[in-house]
């Protein structure tokens, strides 16, 4: 089938308006939250599961790769159409089909934006906890495909913990309906869970059934500043050892504090080695306040120089200001960034932060570290400038050193962003060859022709050396034909 015929075939499924094929449109779908860029052959925006299935059958018929795309906020290059292909944009499938109060579940289309779902269920007194920092733009389908997490995950778990059912379009165009509204369901393999974190390589998720919780009525927050990083880590352990499970324990290291202070000029102490934001929620205001004050006291005893507690909304917002400013502050710092997402055992956090600092000094980069202290998920951000000669090779070395440090400390490559293209060459090192081989067999069973999201997740065999340089960088896309 030639290009014109293919466009025609897709247009009969979704309508002319929803096949994006003109040059500028292909450029609009050539990027995501990373610094890579590759042009798709075509883009299509279906409106229903049936349309998705029909689109997949057309693509399978001509052997064209299919790249599922939610909001394109991936930080792993998951939606970059390496080598071309058909991007399936799910943003139009954004209906909240049902908020079932009686059963505490929501049924949504894959393109529903995370924050929209949260607002809708909160209006009903319910709660959908997973809160990636991208929640205002990311989609539920994307969250499921990457098993997204966020600050609240220490207490409430990650996306996986809320997926009860999925509708998935398979590589042969069949529509698979898995699970449903039941909280307990052990009938057969847990197939729905197989697609959680599959990064678009196994099927296209079109509908999701999610577990909801009752919405906690009260929240209180504390901010603690530590002259010494080790004291912050000891405080985190002290809090958990005291039997408190807070909603969040957000950590910012010294460099992050300074980057934020440069941006905000809010008077943060530049010498402090760590800043912690602690939050608790619940239904009893005294219990919530008690626990936050207890956490504040523990921090104070274990070396915090100042601790502030906020129970009213305005004060809470003020305490969160520094943490919220991390993204804009980093966004304005330097020209390029590589945001990493390693996980280490909680006890290894201070050691990991120190190693990142050494790696930064060794390769000449600022690498602020912030993240979720309760679960050991840290985001070292390498700030660089691609205009400097040889820069990318140095970034590669620094990133590889960070991965290896995390693995050495008993951790792993990614906590929530996924593997995509950016970390695929490290997969074997992280999982071992057997696990990668089993993954490959699963993939082959579900998608024998390798139609879905090729070049992602699995090592391409090019090795670790040059793992970034082999990727197409932003601004180097071929002019569309």
């Amino acid at each position: 089938m030639n290009r014109e015929k293919l466009i025609g075939a897709l247009a009969t499924i979704v309508g002319d308006e929803w096949v994006h094929h003109r040059p500028s449109e292909l450029v609009a779908y050539s990027i995501d939250g990373t610094f890579q860029q590759a042009l798709p052959d075509l883009v299509v925006s279906p409106a229903t599961t049936e349309q998705v299935a029909a689109v997949v059958r057309v693509a399978a018929g001509v052997g064209m790769p299919v790249i599922p795309r939610g909001a394109g906020t991936s930080l792993a290059g998951g939606t970059i159409p390496l080598g071309g292909g058909l991007v399936v944009n799910l943003a139009r499938m954004n209906r909240i089909l049902e908020v079932d109060k009686a059963n505490g579940v929501a049924v949504v289309e894959a393109g529903v934006v995370t924050a929209e779902l949260q607002r809708a269920v909160e209006r009903e007194g319910l709660f959908y906890p997973p809160d990636p920092a991208s929640l205002n733009q990311s989609t539920i389908g994307g969250n499921v495909a990457t098993n997204a997490g966020g600050p609240r995950c220490l207490k409430y778990g990650v996306t996986r913990d809320y997926v009860l059912g999925l509708t998935v379009v398979l590589a042969d165009g069949r529509i698979l309906r898995l699970g449903g509204k039941l909280i307990k369901n052990k009938t057969g393999y847990q197939l729905a869970q197989l697609f959680v974190g599959s990064e678009g390589t196994l099927g296209i998720i079109t509908e999701v059934t999610l577990k909801l919780l009752p919405r906690p009525r009260y929240r209180a927050t504390a901010l603690a500043i530590f002259p010494r990083l080790d004291d912050a880590a000891r405080s985190v352990n002290g809090i958990l050892a005291a039997g408190i499970l807070p909603v969040t324990l957000e950590l910012m290291d010294n460099l992050t504090i300074n980057v934020v202070e440069d941006y905000l000029q809010a008077g943060l102490p530049r010498e402090a080695e760590a800043l912690l934001i602690l939050e608790q929620d619940g239904n009893h205001p005294e219990a919530v306040r008690d626990e936050v004050e207890q956490m504040a006291a523990i921090c104070g005893e274990l070396g915090a120089s100042t601790v502030q507690v906020a129970t009213d909304e305005a004060d809470r917002q003020r305490l969160w200001q520094a943490r919220r400013a991390v993204s804009p502050a980093l966004g304005r710092r330097g020209r390029n960034k590589l945001g990493e997402d390693i996980v280490v055992p909680r006890s290894a956090i201070p050691e990991m932060v120190r190693r990142v600092r050494q790696i930064g000094q060794e390769y000449g980069f600022e690498i602020p570290v912030f993240g979720h202290a309760g679960d050991g998920n840290l985001h070292p951000n390498i700030i660089f400038d691609l205009r400097r000669p040889g820069e990318l090779a140095r970034v590669e070395q620094a990133a590889a050193a960070i991965f290896r440090a995390a693995l050495e400390l008993g951790g792993t490559l990614t906590g929530e962003h996924g593997i995509g293209t950016l970390k695929r060459e490290f997969l074997t090192e992280a999982l071992g060859p057997d696990a990668v081989e089993v993954m490959g067999r699963l993939k082959a069973a579900l998608d024998p022709k390798g139609l879905f999201n090729p070049h992602k997740m699995f090592p391409e065999g090019d090795g670790v050396e040059g793992f970034l340089r082999q990727l197409p960088l932003l601004g180097t896309a071929e002019a569309p034909g």
Binding site: H20, R22, P23, S24, E25, V27, A28, Y29, S30, I31, D32, G33, T34, Q37, S45, A71, G72, T73, N89, A91, R92, N94, G111, V113, A115, S134, N136, Q137, S138, S327, P328, G331, R332, R335, K337, G475, A477, E478, A479, P480
Partner: protein, 430 residues
Amino acid sequence: MTGGLNLLREQYDNLSACIRCGLCLSVCPTYQVSFKEEEGPRGRIAMLKALVEGHLNLTSDLLEHELNCLVCEACTAICPAGYRMEPAQIAFRADIRDAAPWPVRFGLDYFLGNLGRLRRLVRLLALGQRAWLVSLASRTGLVDVLGLRRLTRFLPDLPTTFIVPRGQVWRPAAGPVRYRVALLTGCVMSTVFAGVTRATIRVLTANGCEVVAPAGQGCCGALHLHGGLFDSGLRLVENNVRAFNPDEFDAIIVNSAGCGTALKTYDHYAGSPRAAALARKTRDVTEFLDEIGLKPPAGEVPVTATYQDACHLAHAQRITAAPRRLLRAIPGLRLVEMAEPALCCGSAGVYNVTRPGFADALMRRKARNILATRAEMVITANPGCYLQLLAGLREAAGGDRPAVEVRFLVEVLDQAYQAAPQAVFVEVRG
């Protein structure tokens, strides 16, 4: 194409600031009604960047997606990386100015660039009002091409006397002069909305301001800059920099959000220290009244009202709290929030004339959100929004009377002051 994309090239660093996080998709009006990446800020940036890099040519599809941008600045306001859409669009549109439809280019240059002509046009329209235009539109096929039939939907009640800035001074009738301010009388604000500008003068004098309308001033140039008429825009900017001497005033007051945004960025277009001082001293009238502490109005305006954030106030100037504080200070007025108050209504300068598809979709969404509040009045601070809300609410009512009354914020304040009458100003000279 003229100019070989020279201005856009200068925007390359700005375009490169985007880190592709996608946050702006959540606030972009054209994305929110299409869910297409090519109709969102991130896509528009990628396309402009690819154009500069030579990976894209200036094809009709690219032009369409870029010109669909309302330049509402919602993306700029929310962007964590400091990207700015307005200068990029102004540069792009100037580089491709021949692409703007000729009636728009002609209208902007012929009428807004010359206030004498604009006054004659408005007077002519006022005489015949809508009836004249409607019959003209239906009798001649040609006027359809100009979009006149659409235009009739937007036409408000027109005045026949205008404010011609000649250096007039209005002093408070009683009490001391606390501030001396200059007023930008503008183009449509001094003609089509002359009544609103008079209300602005009354409200300012009631708050202890001596108000001056410096002679020689004209249109702010914003529509020209957004419309690709860069050189005409620059001429208007320079003209106003000559007309206003910032050293003589505590503030330069603007009662149209779009014009205020333009004045506040004059330093980008005219590099002189005087332009920079002018930009620094520019205040939206709502911002200024809030800053100096509004004199509480004694009269009542018993109405349930909702407030529409003008893009150029909320996003470009980041003013959202001040107008609401002013409204809450009016006795009897009950303020209810509509859904998506800061989502563009689709007016965006002349956008509603040039790109009806998105404009109408946004207008209807706005009308629905307003009607859902059950408010009797919708209040805004920008002429474009006023006209668009009027059109949307007329359509909702299926007639000439809008389903909900549309007012400027200063008009409502003025009404509150007038409701407990007292002399507010004396005109001294002019």
